[in-house]
């Protein structure tokens, strides 16, 4: 028997043109993040141009930075940090948030109340401020960044998953499963999770965008990825001096961030309603 993959066509979903283009852009960045070292024309740390803030030329496709390093190579390598850190953070945040949200909805009672109160308190700290304070306290490194970003965006994922799960929890089949004597673990894995997967994935996409924005913001303030490594936010920070000449060194990393976040946002906006609001 032939293998059957769950392609969009088989499941009866169709993506419109804008959705397809944005999916392609987001996918391209993901692929670049993986294969960046084989794409770079120069080493990301090598000083190759005698001029600083060089213009776009045949030799340097995206100009050169404040030390005369090749911008294209630096952006390509930066993709790894921006996409990698954000992806790790969003996976941790959504996994924790969704598991806690589902268990809170299923168990209810005091467990739910205390968890909700605590996580709500966490959301009433502005995200950028929280990042700033913690990174100032512990110092910046990639694991710390991933952890902080994950903690900041867990409450949102929790709230979203809990709200969806509470609705599912009142369905007859959940009551039936309860009456059969199923445990919480079974309930959340087999009854709740399959019914909230679509919206949760869409929410994860949006959360990914927020994390990319926050990470870039922190890096821009000098608290994110530390030199000699640099993500897109730090690239903008390093080359902010080029702003008054309008050199490509500061514009290009900004465009990279914008293409990634806008494409993910548009992709989520154009997802078939069937996936996005399955539980509605």
């Amino acid at each position: 028997m032939a293998m059957s993959f769950p392609t969009p066509r088989r499941l009866g979903y169709r993506l419109n043109l804008v959705g397809m283009i944005s999916a392609a852009v987001a996918l391209t960045w993901a692929v670049i993040a993986v294969i960046a070292p084989w794409l770079t024309p120069y080493g990301p740390g090598e000083v190759v141009d005698f001029d600083y803030f060089g213009p776009i030329s045949e030799q340097f496709w995206l100009g050169s930075d404040y030390l005369g390093r090749d911008m294209l190579s630096r952006i390509l390598v930066g993709t790894r940090y921006t996409v990698g850190i954000s992806l790790a953070a969003v996976l941790i945040a959504c996994f924790t948030g969704v598991v806690l949200g589902m268990t809170a909805a299923v168990i209810g009672g005091w467990y739910d109340t205390i968890l909700s109160r605590f996580l709500d308190a966490l959301t009433s700290i502005p995200s950028k401020l929280f990042g700033l304070v913690v990174v100032a306290g512990i110092g910046s490194s990639i694991p710390v960044l991933i952890g902080v970003l994950a903690v900041i965006y867990t409450p949102g994922a929790y709230r979203f998953a809990r709200a969806l799960s509470v609705n599912i929890n009142t369905m007859e089949y959940v009551t039936a499963a309860r009456a059969r004597g199923e445990r919480t673990l079974y309930l959340i894995r087999h009854e709740i999770l399959p019914n909230i997967t679509g919206p949760v994935l869409a929410d994860m996409g949006l959360r990914f965008v927020f994390i990319v924005l926050l990470l870039s913001g922190l890096s821009f303030l000098g608290l994110g990825v530390q030199p000699p490594n640099s993500d897109w936010g730090s690239l903008v920070r390093e080359n902010i001096g080029a702003l008054s000449f309008g050199a490509p060194a500061v514009i290009m990393p900004s465009i990279a961030i914008a293409t990634l976040t806008i494409s993910v946002n548009l992709l989520i906006d154009n997802l078939p309603v069937k996936i996005r609001d399955r539980s509605e």
Partner: protein, 317 residues
């Protein structure tokens, strides 16, 4: 009825107070995680162990963390914000003028952006699906999905580099005339306005559109009311609650934006002070600034909730 509203609002304020206590605990805990001995850092590498131990004793660093937390909270409540590690000045003096500057920036931005955002939000809802609506929407999604510093960078590129209307990345402290004041404020205000307007337009539009699907609006349509009349006379009065709620929520985005904007434009406000304090690891200053921001944020979101309770009888169950 009235007592019911009052108890609901009191309950909301109670929640806000509990949240504030949890938040202050988190802020304290986060800044306490700093590795290394503060006394050692203050005195430098050359200090004798006895001097370090003496300073630790004097600063009360040997006490349990919870006791220090209580002492810190007590100080905050009495208006004693502690002393800066960096220059030994009282934190209150450092913050005083800066806070006014930040509030000024926030106020000017709010005065400027709220009317514009409301106008755009309501008119896009009125002509939903038109080219105008889609153009504004596209712009809004664009602004929402890029970082604040990118909006600032673009504003500088357009207004300072290409058009050369405004000074670039400098905030002059010696402002002489009203015109210069206007020019100095323009860039930070433009950037911040973009950031918060985008949120406000989106939420206002959604609020108006959701009331547009109500039966009485359909009735107005059937009576032959024009589109503007339908929206302005029939839908809008009932959307005011959610709209004011949206405005308060969007204003809370000011706090995130202001951190970036003050840093970029070198604006002498609390956020800049805090970012600098982070660089020098000046804990009392960071803690106080963080508390100021959390308090402002909490006030705004509590206000949004209270307005929602007042304006929507269905939330008063």
């Amino acid at each position: 009825m009235n007592t019911q509203i009052r108890s609901l609002i009191l309950a909301r304020l109670g929640i806000a107070l509990i949240t504030l206590i949890i938040v202050s605990f988190i802020v304290f805990a986060a800044t306490e995680m700093l590795p290394g001995d503060i006394a050692q850092i203050l005195l430098g590498q050359a200090a004798t162990p006895e001097a370090v131990a003496g300073l630790r004793e004097a600063m009360g660093l040997n006490d349990p963390a919870f006791l220090r937390f209580l002492r810190w909270m007590g100080g905050l409540l009495q208006g004693d914000l502690g002393k800066s590690y960096a220059n030994n000045m009282p934190v209150a003096d450092l913050i005083g003028g800066r806070l006014m500057n930040t509030l000024q920036l926030a106020a000017v931005t709010a005065i400027f952006s709220v009317p514009v955002a409301l106008f755009l939000g309501i008119t896009t809802a009125m002509y939903q699906g038109s080219v105008y609506d889609r153009a504004v929407n596209f712009l809004v999604i664009g602004v929402i999905s890029v970082p604040e510093f990118l909006v600032a960078t673009l504003a500088v590129l357009v207004f300072a580099v290409w058009l050369q209307w405004l000074p670039a990345l400098s905030f002059a402290n010696d402002v002489q005339s009203f015109w210069e004041l206007l020019r100095a404020y323009a860039m930070p205000v433009i950037t911040l306005s973009f950031v918060i307007s985008a949120q406000m337009i989106r939420m206002t539009r959604a609020a108006v559109i959701s009331t547009l699907s109500a039966p009485y609006v359909e009735m107005a349509l059937l009576k032959g009311a024009s589109r503007p009349r339908m929206v302005l006379r029939h839908a809008l009065p009932n959307a005011i609650g959610p709209i004011v709620n949206a405005v308060a929520l969007s204003l809370s985005y000011l706090l995130g934006g202001v951190i970036i904007v003050e840093t970029i434009f070198n604006y002498p406000g609390v956020a800049k002070l805090m970012v600098d304090a982070v660089a020098t690891r000046d804990l009392p200053l960071i803690q106080t600034c963080a508390m100021i921001f959390c308090l402002g944020y909490l006030i705004l979101i509590t206000l949004a909730d209270v307005i929602a309770i007042l304006s929507n009888p269905r939330l008063r169950k």
